[in-house]
Symmetry: none
Subunit: 221 residues, 4 copies
């Protein structure tokens, strides 16, 4: 392994030094408090790994505010305590039972490559994802039930609809976790489903009364 681990590229060292000399120094007192006292984040956000989604930026969240789990297509698998390593399930368990976050937010986004991959897989256009050894394919299988729900729509509307279905599927799967259900029923936590348009800036949320997404902050100028 050793020979493959390299020094950090200097552009990143310089960036870190810049942060250290400015933002870190400005906020040192607070960062030390957080380090000393521990974190007490108000919310957990489950979002996509996509480099274009900057959760802390769009919600103006500073250090200590959000417990952030990021994976492909912001998916949560169904509750399955089979003894294996389940990273998303572990993150949710830690946030809900140890940190006791007040809000659990699933954030989907437009132009999601993972969702597009699932759509291609479900329509038979991504054989590589159907390979037994494909981790991405097996992960995106979580979203297959979502494809069933949008497959009746015109082809060009399906990807965006599937991005929103990813959020819904994740919310439904979260509800299969006993500790999530318990926290919700005790009113100790609230659940939220969002979808952001990364190019146009709009924000939509899942509205339970309407059973679908409604625009809460418009796109456009």
């Amino acid at each position: 392994m050793r020979s493959h681990v390299r020094p950090l590229p200097s552009y990143l060292i310089q960036r870190y030094q810049g942060w250290r000399a400015t933002t870190y120094t400005e906020n040192r007192a607070w960062y030390r408090r957080l380090a000393h006292d521990g974190q007490r984040p108000r919310a957990m956000v489950i979002s996509c790994c996509d480099s274009r989604v900057h959760v802390t930026s769009i919600f103006g969240a500073d250090q200590g505010e959000f417990f952030l789990h990021r994976n492909i297509a912001n998916l949560v698998p169904p509750y399955n305590p089979d003894g294996d390593h389940h990273g998303t399930s572990a993150a949710v368990e830690y946030a809900v039972t140890t940190l006791k976050v007040a809000h659990l937010i699933v954030l989907g986004h437009s132009q999601c490559g993972g969702v597009a991959g699932c759509h291609a897989m479900c329509t038979g256009h991504a054989p590589e994802l159907q390979a037994e050894t494909s981790f991405v394919g097996k992960w995106l299988d979580i979203l297959r039930p979502g494809y069933e729900r949008v497959s009746h729509l015109p082809e060009e509307e399906q990807p965006l609809a599937l991005e929103r279905e990813a959020v819904v599927i994740s919310l439904e799967n979260l509800m299969t976790f006993p500790f999530v259900k318990a926290a919700l029923e005790a009113d100790e936590m609230t659940l939220h489903g969002l979808w952001t348009d990364i190019g146009e800036g709009g924000l939509w949320q899942y509205d339970s009364a309407q059973g679908g997404f409604v625009e809460i902050i418009p796109s456009g100028s």
Copy 2:
């Protein structure tokens, strides 16, 4: 599910509106390009969900730069293509084979609650993590081999040493993935191991020649 999904708390709506009216508006042209052309992140960063670690901030990374996977204690499990849902493995596979990132960085940090939990579990002080149904316990099992390597140290030095061992274990496990090994051997990607002191601001990196971590940006004033 429906009755438990609530509207987004207004403080987050206001924060998003603020971002929309300022940062988004300033950068709209770039965000639209990214939405249209797709992401082409230079690096993947695997870091902890901890609310006190702001990867994009400390490296001054803007939209489009980092493919971000965050889980408990920034761990990567060993390669295991058993057909189950493996979120971290899927994220790595996507980053390496589809996005073809140039750098894969594992970033550990001080005061890591996950690592502290693993230490408690390995020293018999966390029975709840040893329960069969504990996702956090099963996830932290990935780090058990790391505990063996630090258990000879004085008790008070073990947590920090284990935080760094988490990075090493993750790097070693990454090397068990054929597509990671292939990209490294073809010099199409480099691997990096980092540890940041969230209170004091210093940055350390794994130095393969020394077989341990060296300080590259000092803590302190």
Copy 3:
């Protein structure tokens, strides 16, 4: 002094910019009127500095509505014109004689740290507050008479009872100010005592007929 005064942390600059681009811009016409014409608040509210009490939020008060004085444990000292700097007395004098507010409200709250400190001090558990140089101790002395009134209750009921006694003591002390008495007797101002449960959301008010607090807006779901 100079070297210790730093630039504002950027997270607050960003938040202010967000406000400036949204709320400020929406309301600019009104804010300019207020700046030009002066303030004419309908009520003065004396509340605690506690970060969890958002007076303008809970009463939906917009710019120009409330003259807000906040101190430890929402206390008003007895009238004492000895020539020294008395901040709370000055705020009340300004509100009553210059602004001529119509309502003067004292708002107490649950889980008040200042009141808890007074209780600890009165029961001999806070020697640091009894030090001659302790400003907090000397300030909380205002509330000592309140402790005498609740000390007969079961120990676990005393803190909440003392929080409400803080409101009563403040109202009684307000009545010792000649200009307050005069405004009340001329029916130019009314006095109100409130207590809010910051976790459960309920609101109680001092009922003079009953000589105690009654719930006017219930807690609970």
Copy 4:
């Protein structure tokens, strides 16, 4: 006293009910956490009682973020542990030594009635403030040294200059408190001086290198 304490005006009861049914309900989980765990505000803000200054709004601060002390003209008196009730000194002591806030911010504002009163008093135009029994006059005496520093300016520039001098005087007086000095020297807290234009929306901060205020967020459109 009893006969003068009245029920809360119904317009405020309705506003509170509205808040209770919407914002409170949305955030109940968080408010309960805060009530249960206690406050851990990152910053203390000392601002004016003026109804037109909404500190939590302009900084997008939600419950739990700011420890707020408000008095006439956002003044801090010099350190004087003479055993009397000193509300501002007590608030600062509590914030610095018990809550250990990371940032201590003094926020001044335009069109400040208290500062205008001080100016009138210093130029002999407010005999009522010079009365021995005037609490407002005695409180504004804290700012007299500030008048000396601006009296050489053209008359029409003096009020605004005095508003900013109020912030400077308060910062200087804060430095006379041993526990403030200690926290600053140990890098456990930072000090900030701000001035906001309530009509035009701009924000200025005290810049120690320049020895004066610089605009950090512009007024205007």
